[in-house]
Symmetry: C2
Subunit: 480 residues, 2 copies
């Protein structure tokens, strides 16, 4: 990739001078809130400028934005206004914006500017960002953009695409600084001063042997503080944490998080250094995983704010359909006891309480288990400990709520029998909820299924069926 | 703080030579899985060594671990074995382990080794880690540890503690490298080589004016590649993204994530540079927030694997109690229609389906809205757009499931009327679910309440009440 200006913490001083639009500013803290750069005022201002044909104002306001903010601006604009702004920006469009865009918005952008212009922008990115952009294009767009790329860039991107999705090979950038162990600090610094083809940002120098295998690492802050004649071998850390090109990105994220790493070198099968994954890619992986868990537990596959209503509804339909099947199963259980309910209608009034309490207690356990697995607070072999603990927690809370709910049911219906039935059914359901809430995600994890995505269905099925059955069966036994 | 060995990506070559215990190794990727350093075998090996009195084996295995792994090991040991291992390690205990420990385990450790030894370890940490450790101690322990600290360290930590919790002031480390704009690259490098009191790791040089206000930043990789006579002013980036000491940590995390930052300088009220927040602290904030959202949506406040059964049960009780109140409210709605149910028991069988579908559809919307707010994909002013979209999604899926469920109910009961009632109630409940699922978290956010923590109760109350009421009221109107 050709080398651009360092895409660093800060942008080179390109302040927006005298625009007619609420001036986009570098985020500054005022008291507690960081003022977002892309305010509703900025969005409205640009919408108005586009509508009224004031292209100069729209261009200068948008061109002054960081790529991340420009991507956010495009997302917030009305879909009709996006192509207009992209056209107005023309060659001034920051290539980095591609890396920040939603897939839907990006596809539309690529379709608009065409493969040649896209290829020109992609060629300016670091290799990891270039792969990130190209991998999600549809097959036809991908082929055209690749064809329009310079050969060298194309080869690097095709190599990146050859690694499997969500692997370290996909995430890594190829640009890195590697030296031999017998180099001096002075030679290393001179090499970096002379070389034009370094990554935009880097934090470590990697030390390799004759076969290009990593044997050490020197943080820049350490190199910086060492006198020129010292050899690299004398200051390098020898235990290098590496990952392979095939390592799953969540495994890589685990290493970063656990050890507070800023970069992890990536090696191929023979141990040769081929790239480096940097922390900023991993922050996204970590957050996406946690967000996904929250969404999956709620029965949402993924969600993009830019997605239209019809596709959003369709994406949620499947899960609701599965839920319907389990709800019908629960209703079938109730149907077994129609006769009991007909005689004592109060049972129909009270039975949702048992199911609801079980569902909620089980969901608590489920969320805890899913996050403990995701953050590796619980390893596979220790699952029995979690199950035991959660079952005991369920038993304790089951006993507490048996007393509370039993009393409520007694007071409400005036029947000691119904109060007792309520209490017994609650204990049973909360014990099962704790057991199932811990065991289901552990079993799914062991079976190689993401525990967040399917646990909820199984769990509510269990707590609904057990809740209704325990309550109504006990009532049938004791009341009839 | 005194300066230790760089706590960098890698540990200086302290390999564990010839221990009797499954040798802890630096994590290496084998194919796809990163082998966790702290395996069940290692835990068992150390448990056995402690039990059999083989202190040398336990010491050498544990001492070779990275602080993060040692913390993990302590967590995984049986609670009885923890003090034994700490005693065996003695002065060899890595101070950094404090920063990685669960609060419960850390409190026990501090109680065991006493305030003087704790103070000695804390004095070796960077100021942000020191504050992180001291802030969570109970009042008595905190007083004693502070008293045992050297005056300079104590002052720094007390200043850190004076900032409010979860603020940039709490997170920042005071150690940083700042120079004036007229320094040359050569002078800057010489200064760093000569200075003993630099942070363990750093990635940027901050440029300040005469009042110590940040006016620029130079990434080390840029400094490194510039010739010695060039002045810092010529290579610095002038737009510095700063936060104030009072900025909330989630706002800081937003900046880091949005712009892929590695460090953010922190300024006090007059704009003077007082510290720097680094990316590794923020990865934790980002992940904790997303994890918290997943847990809060499931009705769990927070959870520590080391917490005992009784305290875990107690921590979940409150939420279950709130859920009970809402379940009783829903039952009260059902009770209004006892007479209707008595005449047509099939209604009791079918009514949970309506409530369940509404609850699930609403939860989908809720999770999406909560994450969109947390990641700022939706800003306050744009809430109406989210509400409109989700209400339409609810309408679409409501219509689809009205057909499906209406048909099921008709087939099951043989009554067209009950099928129609089912369909109408479902549409009503899914529309309300979409509306409430989006509106509730937005309203809570506006009111300054964490939308993840309280949304669930309100939502299921709404969908249960609306679900049961719509279904039974329609039945009362149409069947009687």
């Amino acid at each position: 990739m050709s080398e651009g200006a360092p895409a660093s913490d800060v942008r080179p001083g390109a302040a927006a001078a005298g625009t007619a639009i609420a001036s986009p500013r570098v985020s500054l803290a005022t008291g507690e809130e960081v003022v977002p750069t892309v305010t509703s005022d900025l969005v409205d201002g640009i919408e108005n400028a586009i509508e009224s044909g004031d292209e100069a104002a729209a261009r200068s306001a948008a061109a002054a934005l960081h790529a991340a903010d420009l991507a956010d601006l495009l997302l917030r604009l009305r879909p009709e206004s996006r192509p207009a702004l992209v056209r107005i920006l023309g060659d001034g469009l920051d290539p980095d914006v591609f890396g920040y865009l939603d897939e839907d918005v990006r596809d539309a952008l690529v379709a608009q500017i065409g493969p040649t212009a896209t290829a020109k922008l992609v060629a300016e990115l670091d290799s990891d960002d270039a792969v990130y952009v190209v991998e999600d294009l549809d097959a036809e767009q991908k082929r055209r953009v690749l064809e329009a790329l310079p050969l060298g860039d194309r080869a690097l991107i095709e190599q990146g695409l050859a690694f499997k999705e969500e692997s370290a090979g996909r995430l890594m950038q190829r640009e890195l600084v590697a030296v031999r162990e017998f180099w001096t600090v002075g030679e290393t610094i001179d090499y970096m001063r002379a070389s034009a083809d370094l990554p935009d940002d880097f934090y470590n120098i990697f030390v390799v042997d004759g076969q290009w295998r990593p044997i050490g690492v020197v943080p820049l802050s350490r190199l910086m503080r060492t006198r020129r004649p010292v050899t690299v071998a004398d200051i390098m850390f020898r235990d290098v944490r590496t990952v392979s090109v095939d390592t799953d990105q969540e495994e890589v994220a685990f290493l970063f998080r656990r050890y507070g790493l800023v970069e992890v070198p990536v090696v191929e099968a023979k141990g040769r250094l081929v790239g480096v994954v940097t922390f900023d890619d991993l922050v996204e992986v970590v957050e996406e995983k946690a967000s996904e868990d929250a969404l999956h537990l709620a029965g949402v596959e993924a969600d993009a704010p830019a997605r239209d209503v019809l596709r959003t509804a369709a994406s949620r339909f499947t899960w609701l359909f599965v839920n319907l099947a389990t709800a019908i199963l629960a209703s079938a259980v109730i149907a077994l006891f129609e006769e009991t309910i007909e005689r004592t209608v109060a049972l129909a009034v009270l039975m949702p309480i048992v199911a609801s309490m079980g569902g909620n207690a089980g969901t608590q356990t489920l969320a805890v288990a899913v996050r403990a697995l995701a953050t590796r607070q619980v390893l596979g072999g220790e699952g029995w400990r979690l199950i035991a603990k959660e079952t005991m927690v369920g038993t304790l809370n089951g006993a507490s709520f048996a007393l509370v709910c039993g009393a409520v049911a007694w007071a409400w219906t005036g029947s000691v029998a119904i109060g007792s039935i309520m209490g017994m059914a609650l204990v049973a359901n909360l014990v099962v909820a704790g057991l199932a809430g811990a065991a289901i995600p552990l079993a799914l994890e062991r079976a190689g299924v993401d525990p967040a995505i399917a646990s909820g269905v199984f769990l509510t099925t269990v707590t609904d069926v057990v809740g209704f059955f325990a309550f109504l069966a006990l009532a049938t036994l004791l009341l009839l």
